[in-house]
Amino acid sequence: MGESTWLNGLLWLPALGMVAVTLLPKGRDSLVRGVTFGCMVLQLFIAALLYQRFDGTVAGLQFATDVPWIRDWGVGYRIGLDGLNVLLVSLTAFLGPLVVAGAWSAVHKDVKLFHVMVLFIQFAMLGTFLAQDLFLFYVFWEAMLIPMFLIIGLWGGERRIYATLKFVLYTAFGSILMLAALIYLVLYTHGSSGYMTFDLRHLSGSQLPLNTQLWLLSAFALSFAIKVPMFPLHTWLPDAHVEAPTTGSVILAGVLLKMGTYGFMKLGFPLFPEAARAMMPVIMTLAVISIVYGACLALVQTDIKKIIAYSSISHLGYVMLGLASLDLIGIQGAILQMVSHGLVAGGLFLMVGMIYERTHSRAVADYGGLAKMLPVFSVFFTILTLASIGLPTTSGFAGEFMALLGAFNAAWPAHLAGNDLPLTLAVIAVSGVVLGALYMLWLAQRILFGEARAPHAPLTDLNARETAILVAIVAAIFAIGLFPGEPLAKTELAAREFQQRVAGETIQLGSTR
C-alpha cells in the first residue's frame, strides 16, 4: 500500500468527519463548524501533498488502490490519481474549507445535519473523481445527488421545492440512462472477453461496433450534458442556483458542474472513441450554442445569482469546445478552464452570499455604489469579475485562450479540407469574449458604481474571515493565470493519451503541431 494510504485518507476523511460530526453533542454549533472545518483543512493538506508528489511524467494511475468488492460482477474498489483528475481533486479539496468558512455565519438551522451533508457531498465528489471502476463511479455519482437535494431542499429559498424537483428529475433522468448504458457495456464486454469487470482500464479496451457505441455514448452524453449543463438541458441550473443556499451554489458551480465535463473526458469520449468522433460536430455545436446562449441570457437577468448561473453555462461551453477540438492545447485548456471556473464562479457565489447575508437581496436593481460603501468587497468583486471576463493574468484567460486556440488549431485543417463547420463555430465562440464582458461589466457597473444605495444600509465591509476566503481564491486565480505551465505539466501526458485514444492516429498528427 504505502503511498496509496494518502489517497485513501483523502477520500475517507470526509466520511470519517461525517461520523464525528454526527456523534457530537446537540446544540454545539461552533464545535460542529470547527470539526468540519478542521476536517476540510486536513484534507486540503493531504491533497496538497498528493499534488506535490504527483509525477506528471508517469503515465497511468498513481497512489492507486485496487481491491475486489463484488467479485461475481467484477466490481472493485479501484481508485487512483491520474492526469485527468489530479487538478479537479485538488480543486475540490481547495474549495472544501472555503465552503465551510463561507457558511460560518449563514446557516443557523439544523447546523449539524447541514455540515454532515457538506462532508457527505465532499466525499461523494472526491469519490467520483477518483473512481477507476465504473460501478464505483456510478455509486458516487448517484450519491452526490442526495446531499445536494437536501441542501437545496432544506436550506434553500422560497421556491426550493420546485428547484430541487427540477434538479433531481433532470439529473436522475440522465443517471438512469447512464446506468442502462454502463450495464450494457459491461455485459457486452463480458460476452466478448469472457469475464465480467467494471474496471475502467479493461472496459476502455473493448472494441464495440460503431452503432452500439453511438447508442451508449448518447446515453452517457445525455447524462453528462445535463450535469454540465449544455443547451438545451440547462434550465434546471438557474433555478437550482437561485434557490440554493450559498453553500449549495458554491459546491454546484465550483465542483459539481465539472462532473459533467469530467465525465465526457474520463468516460464518454475514451470509452466510445469512434462514436465520439462521429458525434463531435453535434457536441461542438451545442458547446458553442451554450457559450452564446448562456451569455445572452446572462445579459437580461435581474438576479445576481442568475447572471452568474447563466455565465456558468457559457463558460463551461468553452470546456466542451476545448475537449471536442481533440487538440492538445484545447484539451489542456479545457482542463484548466474547469479549474478556473470552479474558482471564479465559486468565488462569485461566495461573494453574493456575503452581500446577501447583509441585505437579504439578490436583485441587481437594489444596489449601487458599493465601491463607496464596501471598498474591500468591491476590490474582490472587481477582480473576480475580470477573471470571469477572462482578462489576461487571471486563470479565466488561460483556460479560455487555450480552449479557443485548440478549437482553431483543429478548425483550420478542417476548413482547408472543405469542412467549414468547426471554423464557423470557433469564430462564433470568440464572440463569447465580447458578450462575457457585456454582462459582467454591466453587473459590476450597476452594483459597484453610481450613487451609493443598498437595502439595510449602512453596511459593514468584509470581515477577516470573509477577506481570508477571498484572498485564497484570488491568489489561486492569479497563480494559475500567471503560471499555468505548472499545473499543465501534471496533466499533459493524460491529455495526450486522451487525445490519442479519442482522435486516433489521423487527426493526432495534424493537431499536435
Partner: protein, 640 residues
C-alpha cells in the same frame, strides 16, 4: 533580413534589465494600491512618480546597450515559460529593438512627466492613492505591450491597458455617466480584441509561433507561410481599430474624456491609443506582403482622420475637441502605415505624444484654473491670467497645426508625402483627404486657441475672479512638453528606425512634386490659422452665424454622425430583444420548461393524483426511471 539578437542576461549584464523596466511600475501599483491609503500623500507621490522615473532611466541604460550592439540589433530576455505543449510553448519574453526603444522612451518619459503633473492636478482628490496605483498599473501593462516579444504577451498588455483605462475613465465612479463611459470603452475594445485573437490563432496555426520577430521573418522568407497575409493583416487591424479608436470602433474615445484630464493626456492621447499603430508597425512584415490589408488600413485611417476632424470643428467642450483631434491624428498615422511608411507613422506617434500631451495637460490646467469648466463658449481672455498655460498651449497648437518648424510639421508633412507618392499604395486621393484633414486640424485648433485664451472673456465675474495659474508641478511639465513639441521634429526618427522599418520607395514620376507638396502643406496650415482668426478673433458671433446658415450640417456634426445611436439601434437593442424575448421567453420558458411542465402535468393527470403536486412528479420520475431502464436495455440489447 537577419538581425543580431543579443541576450540581455549574460555575464556582463547579470540584471534582467527589460524585466525590471516592466516590473518597476507594477511595484508602484502594488505599493500604492495596498499601502498608499495608510502611508499618506508624500509616500504615494514619491512611489508613484519615482518608479516610472526609474523605469525611464533603466530604459536609457537599455538604449545604450542597444546602441552599442548595432543599428539592427535587439535585446532579448526570456523571463519564464508560461505554458508548454510538447516541444512548443509560450514564453514570457521581452524584446527590445529601436522601435521598442522609441515606444518605451515615450511611455516612460511622457508617462513620468504626467505622473509629476498629476501630483498637482489631483492634489485634493480623496482617491489620490488609488489614482496613482491605477496610473502605475497602466504603465506596467503598456510596457508589457510594447516590450513583449510574442503576440500573446503583447495581448496581455493590450487587454491590461484596456483595464487600466476602464478603471481610470470611471475613476469618479459615483457619477453613473462616467462609469458607463468606462464600460463602453472596455466593451468596444473587446470587439477589437476578438479580431486580435483571431489573427493570433491563425498565425499560431500557420507558423507555430507568435513571436513577432519570427512572424516578420516568416513572411520575409522565400517560401511564404501557408496563410493569407491579408487575412491576418485585416484581423489584427480590427484589433488596432479598437485600441486606436478608428472607424467604426472610435466611439469610445470621446466618452473616455470622463476620466481625469492627465489620464486623457497619458492614455487617451500619448500612449495607449497608439498601441494599434505600434502593432501594425511591429508586424510590418505581414503588411508589406499584404497590399489588400494595407489598403484597408490606409482607407480606414484617412476616413477616420477626415470625419473626426469634421466633428472636431463644432465641439464646444475643450476636451472633446482634443479627443476628436486625437482620433483624427491617429487616422493619419494609420494612413502612413497603410502606404508602407511605418517609420513615419511612428514618427508621428512620437511628435503627437509631445504636443497632444501638452494640449491635454494645458486643457487640464485651464479646467483647474476655472474650477471645472470645460465649455469653451464660457471661456476667453485667459492668456493674461494663466500665461504659462497659454504660451505652452499656443506652441503645441502651432505644432499640431503643422506650422514649421515645429514638430508636427515634419511628421505630418512626411505622412502626406508618402500618402501621395508611395509605391506601396499611395494615391492623390489619400493625399487630398489627408490635406483636407490638416486644413481642418489647423482651423479647429486655432479656433480652440482663440476661444479659450484670446477672445474677450465670456466668463462669469465669479469664475473670472478665481482664475489662477497652476502650481509649478503642472506648469513645469507644460514647459518641458512645449519645448519638445517645438524641437522634437528635428530628430529624424524614420531614418533612425530605417534598419528595422523600411522606408517605402516613391513613384519615380512623382518625385519632383516633393517641394511643391511641402509648400502646399505650409499653405494649408496657414490657411487654417487665417480662417480661424477671421472667424473667432472677436468671439462666437461669426461661428454661430455660420452654424445658423447650415443648421442641418451643424446638427449632424454636433451629433457625431449619430454613430452611437446607430449602434444602439442595430446592435445593442436587438441583442437585448433577442436575448430577452427569443432566448429567455421563447427558448427557456416556453419551449424547454414549458414542455417539461407539460410532461409533468400529463403524468399527473394520467396517474390521477391531481391534488398532490410533488408526489405526482416523484411518482412520474420513478415510473419513468423503471420504464426507461428496461426499455433502453431491451432496445439496445436487440439492436446492438
Amino acid at each position: 533580413m537577419s538581425r543580431a539578437t543579443i541576450a540581455c542576461k549574460d555575464d556582463a549584464h547579470p540584471m534582467n534589465l527589460l524585466t525590471v523596466i516592466v516590473l518597476l511600475p507594477l511595484a508602484g501599483f502594488l505599493l500604492n494600491g495596498l499601502l498608499g491609503r495608510r502611508l499618506g500623500r508624500t509616500f504615494v507621490s514619491v512611489v508613484g512618480c519615482g518608479l516610472p522615473v526609474l523605469a525611464f532611466l533603466a530604459t536609457f541604460k537599455a538604449v545604450l546597450l542597444l546602441q552599442a550592439a548595432g543599428p539592427d540589433a535587439a535585446l532579448l530576455e526570456v523571463a519564464y515559460r508560461w505554458a508548454s505543449f510538447g516541444d512548443r510553448g509560450f514564453d514570457v519574453a521581452f524584446y527590445f529593438d529601436r522601435l521598442t526603444a522609441v515606444m518605451t522612451l515615450i511611455i516612460t518619459g511622457v508617462g513620468s512627466l504626467i505622473h509629476v503633473y498629476s501630483t498637482g492636478y489631483m492634489k485634493d482628490d480623496p482617491g489620490y492613492a488609488r489614482y496613482f496605483a491605477y496610473l502605475n498599473l497602466f504603465l506596467f501593462f503598456m510596457l508589457t505591450l510594447v516590450l513583449g516579444r510574442s503576440l500573446l504577451v503583447c495581448f496581455v498588455g493590450w487587454e491590461g491597458v484596456g483595464l487600466a483605462s476602464y478603471l481610470l475613465i470611471g475613476f469618479w465612479f459615483e457619477d453613473p455617466a462616467k462609469a458607463a463611459a468606462g464600460k463602453k470603452a472596455f466593451i468596444t475594445n473587446r470587439v477589437g480584441d476578438a479580431g486580435f485573437l483571431l489573427g493570433l490563432f491563425l498565425l499560431y496555426w500557420a507558423l507555430g509561433t507568435v513571436n513577432m520577430d519570427e512572424i516578420n521573418a516568416a513572411f520575409a522568407a522565400p517560401i511564404a507561410p501557408a496563410v493569407s497575409a491579408s487575412l491576418v493583416g485585416v484581423l489584427l487591424f480590427i484589433g488596432a481599430t479598437g485600441k486606436s479608436a478608428q472607424i467604426p470602433l472610435h466611439v469610445w474615445l470621446p466618452d473616455a474624456m470622463a476620466g481625469p484630464t492627465p489620464v486623457s493626456a497619458l492614455i487617451h492621447a500619448a500612449t495607449m491609443v497608439t498601441a494599434g499603430i505600434y502593432l501594425v508597425a511591429r508586424l510590418h512584415g505581414i503588411y508589406e506582403h499584404a497590399p489588400a490589408a494595407s489598403q484597408v488600413v490606409a482607407v480606414i485611417g484617412v476616413l477616420t482622420a477626415f470625419f473626426a476632424a469634421t466633428i472636431a470643428l463644432v465641439q464646444t467642450d475643450i476636451k472633446k475637441v482634443l479627443a476628436y483631434s486625437t482620433v483624427s491624428q491617429l487616422g493619419l498615422m494609420f494612413l502612413a502605415l497603410g502606404v508602407g511608411a511605418y517609420g513615419v507613422a511612428v514618427f508621428h506617434v512620437y511628435t503627437h505624444a509631445f504636443f497632444k500631451a501638452c494640449l491635454f495637460l494645458g486643457a487640464g490646467s485651464v479646467i483647474h484654473a476655472l474650477g471645472g469648466e470645460q465649455d469653451i463658449r464660457k471661456m476667453g481672455g485667459l492668456w493674461r491670467k494663466i500665461p504659462v498655460t497659454f504660451f505652452t498651449f499656443a506652441v503645441a497648437t502651432a505644432a499640431i497645426a503643422g506650422i514649421p518648424p515645429l514638430a508636427g510639421f515634419f511628421s505630418k508633412d512626411e505622412i502626406l508625402w508618402f500618402a501621395f507618392a508611395s509605391e506601396h499604395g499611395g494615391s492623390p486621393i489619400l493625399w487630398a483627404l489627408g490635406s483636407a484633414t490638416a486644413l481642418m486640424t489647423s482651423f479647429y485648433m486655432f479656433r480652440l486657441l482663440w476661444l479659450t485664451f484670446l477672445t474677450p472673456s465670456r466668463m462669469s465675474h465669479e469664475t473670472e475672479h478665481h482664475v489662477h495659474e497652476s502650481p509649478l508641478s503642472m506648469t513645469g511639465v507644460l514647459i518641458v512638453l512645449a519645448v519638445l513639441s517645438a524641437i522634437g521634429g528635428f530628430f529624424e526618427l524614420p531614418h533612425f528606425l530605417e534598419p528595422l522599418l523600411p522606408i517605402p520607395a516613391v513613384v519615380e514620376s512623382l518625385e519632383h512634386f516633393e517641394h511643391t507638396l511641402v509648400f502646399v502643406a505650409v499653405a494649408v496650415a496657414l490657411l487654417g490659422l487665417a480662417a480661424a482668426t477671421f472667424m473667432y478673433r472677436r468671439g462666437l458671433a461669426r461661428g454661430e452665424a455660420l452654424a445658423a446658415r447650415f443648421p442641418r450640417l451643424h446638427r449632424v456634426l454636433g451629433g457625431k454622425y449619430y454613430i452611437d445611436e446607430l449602434f444602439e439601434a442595430v446592435l445593442y437593442r436587438p441583442l437585448h430583444w433577442v436575448s430577452d424575448r427569443v432566448f429567455l421567453g421563447l427558448g427557456d420558458r416556453l419551449l424547454i420548461d414549458g414542455s417539461l411542465h407539460g410532461l409533468a402535468v400529463l403524468t399527473r393527470r394520467a396517474s390521477g393524483r391531481l391534488s398532490r403536486v410533488q408526489t405526482g412528479q416523484l411518482q412520474w420520475y420513478v415510473a419513468m426511471a423503471v420504464i426507461g431502464v428496461v426499455g433502453c436495455l431491451v432496445w439496445v440489447w436487440r439492436h446492438g
